[in-house]
Symmetry: C2
Subunit: 351 residues, 2 copies
């Protein structure tokens, strides 16, 4: 019999945003790895790639020519998962076991820069501010369409995250329904707000700032931290300190502060394994259903797959798919390691 | 305006086992793929590999020597995610945001065969029956330990699923709590049973057998089908026709029928892309909390990652992690493709 030591003993942690648990096995990072290694491209990319369908002036799959854009450039996804067609739906198809509903939506691609070879950590803060403004514009524009109730802004970075083109870009999938993960978060935020008249993340960020151990970066308006309940080895979340429900409510100072923390966090990621760090990231914010959402609190998730090095990732497989998410290193340890990384990009430091 | 066509139009389907939706984009399989390709090992494996820590007679990481086993062989995982230590836990650590609880458990490795080069589809039905009997024995033995309330039997197959050794083996993680995914399923099964006095899967299987379009294989006691709400391109589920709550309730005929359907399903998988088909699979069955579980219905999930070929998988990334699971081919189409595969293994057909 021994006393519980959260840094050493297997335990479960609870995620109040989606009401799910994660299994933490702190000691397990010690096991040797004989499994799959990812390949890392070390090839230097050109500033403009004639064969890239995202570079300015090039032709896309559908024959359209990209403009000679200077900042960011947005277009409708040529292979969209969602379509704008209005569909007539007879409710009687519904069934306990065979329940299906048509879904209307729009998928867009957002090029972050005309430069083929730049990623977020290598861009200027002012360039990132431009991306933020593009996200604001898209959130407003898509959100104002009558049938669009949710706008999901996200980025898949790196081939290991299913990204097929290194040209810096993200996506937006806007649709009628609240997607599953967002609905879970919505319910938690709503229940907390109704009870406390403050947002869950407002109080959570304050609690984390007091404890300090999971904070990676802090500036006047935002905090980047490894959530207490993080699933991925180096998962982080950027949260606004103020209870802001959506990106369009940022003031000018907040736009800059957000761009800065985005740059610093992604620099730390790249520096961790001296590689262009892969991840999927995305913004969770208020639905665009036309209602007020004081319970919503802007946050951005980063889900990076790497565990041990630039080539060894964490596999979320058997137990994780059938049972629950499991991690091999504590969030506190991960936060410490990220905190220790420089905020100067390893590539520019070498030069 | 057009009428909803479930085979063509983007839609969402509801999974009543875990109360979550999946986005289905039938048309999306047509998009070209320029992204990451997996590497496939085509090397023929030896029957016994002196450097394999799972082969009979070899030495493991902890210095122990594997016995000269003839069928299956079970041992405690040398790098277990769970530990048997009893931990004293002061409840007052609990907190809205920092909720953690120690978790007690046992992780085991189950070698399926002394042969290094065989996988399930290549084994004799009688060999697979032996594996089923081993699972029964482990479920009973682990389940009878006082603090073990859930026994998760699973297999990660293939390096793309984080498996680091091709020697055929699975794992068992037994623990105090119901893991997240199992708890969701438990709640759904319980609610359905309380209302209908039949198990959810008993009625679901009957409904699927009437419709036929998602059935892959059927024998007297089991059905292998692509669930209406499947997430992975070639996801399947093996379900018992009878309402059996746990593997130890199988009669002798059911053990054989289960071994047969396991062999046939995995042969079809291998034949699909002429490759040793990767997947994570696992059994969901009654908790081992000492209570009766008439609501539970034995089923086995197969989550295979491949989408287009032996080297192109489906990436569950940005939208899927932040929003909801999304698939590019309908479950009906996948079932049809799997149904068409031979039940003679492509390797033996060539010989
Ligand atoms: O136990 P293994 O085979 O070493 O590890 C594999 O399966 C585990 C259970 O699904 C995962 O947690 C690991 O990420 C994966 O690499
Ligand atoms: O749209 P892309 O970049 O072609 O595709 C990528 O992101 C999508 C959204 O997360 C996923 O559904 C795809 O599996 C992935 O390959």
């Amino acid at each position: 019999m021994k006393n519980f030591d959260i840094n050493e003993d297997p335990h479960r942690r609870f995620n109040p945003l989606i009401n799910e648990w994660v299994l933490v096995s702190p000691h397990r990072a010690k096991r040797p790895w004989q499994g799959q290694n990812e390949t890392v491209s070390t090839e230097a990319l050109p500033k403009h790639d004639p064969s890239c369908y995202l570079c300015p002036g090039n032709v896309r799959a559908n024959g359209e020519i990209n403009p000679a854009y200077k900042n960011s450039f947005v277009f409708d996804n040529d292979f969209a998962a969602l379509k704008q067609d209005e569909i007539i739906f007879e409710e009687d198809i519904k069934h306990t076991f065979f329940k299906a509903e048509p879904e209307q939506g729009i998928s867009r691609v957002v090029c972050f820069s005309p430069r083929h070879d730049l990623t977020l950590p290598e861009m200027e803060v002012s360039d990132i501010e431009n991306i933020v403004k593009t996200w604001q514009k898209e959130y407003t524009e898509l959100g104002s369409i009558k049938y669009i109730n949710h706008v999901q802004i996200f980025e898949n970075k790196g081939s290991v995250m299913g990204c097929s083109n290194p040209h810096p870009h993200g996506q937006i999938w806007a649709q009628s329904s609240l997607p599953t993960q967002v609905e879970k978060t919505h319910n938690s935020l709503k229940a907390y707000y109704d009870k406390n008249k403050r947002t869950l993340l407002e109080d959570y960020v304050q609690a984390e700032l007091r404890v300090e151990s999971r904070i990676v970066i802090e500036n006047e308006h935002f905090v980047a931290l490894v959530p207490f309940w993080a699933i991925w080895p180096y998962e982080t979340m950027i949260v606004s300190k103020r209870a802001i429900s959506k990106i369009t409510d940022f003031n000018a100072e907040e736009v800059t502060a957000y761009a800065k923390i985005l740059k610093q966090l992604t620099i730390k990621y790249d520096n961790l394994f001296n590689t262009s760090f892969p991840y999927s990231s995305g913004i969770h914010q208020a639905p665009t259903d036309g209602l007020d959402h004081p319970e919503w609190h802007f946050h951005m998730h980063f889900y990076p797959p790497l565990l041990r090095s630039a080539t060894v990732k964490k596999f979320m497989v058997g137990y994780e798919m059938l049972g629950e998410s499991q991690r091999d290193i504590t969030p506190e340890k991960s936060a410490e390691i990220l905190r220790q990384q420089e905020v100067i990009h390893y590539k520019s430091a070498v030069k």
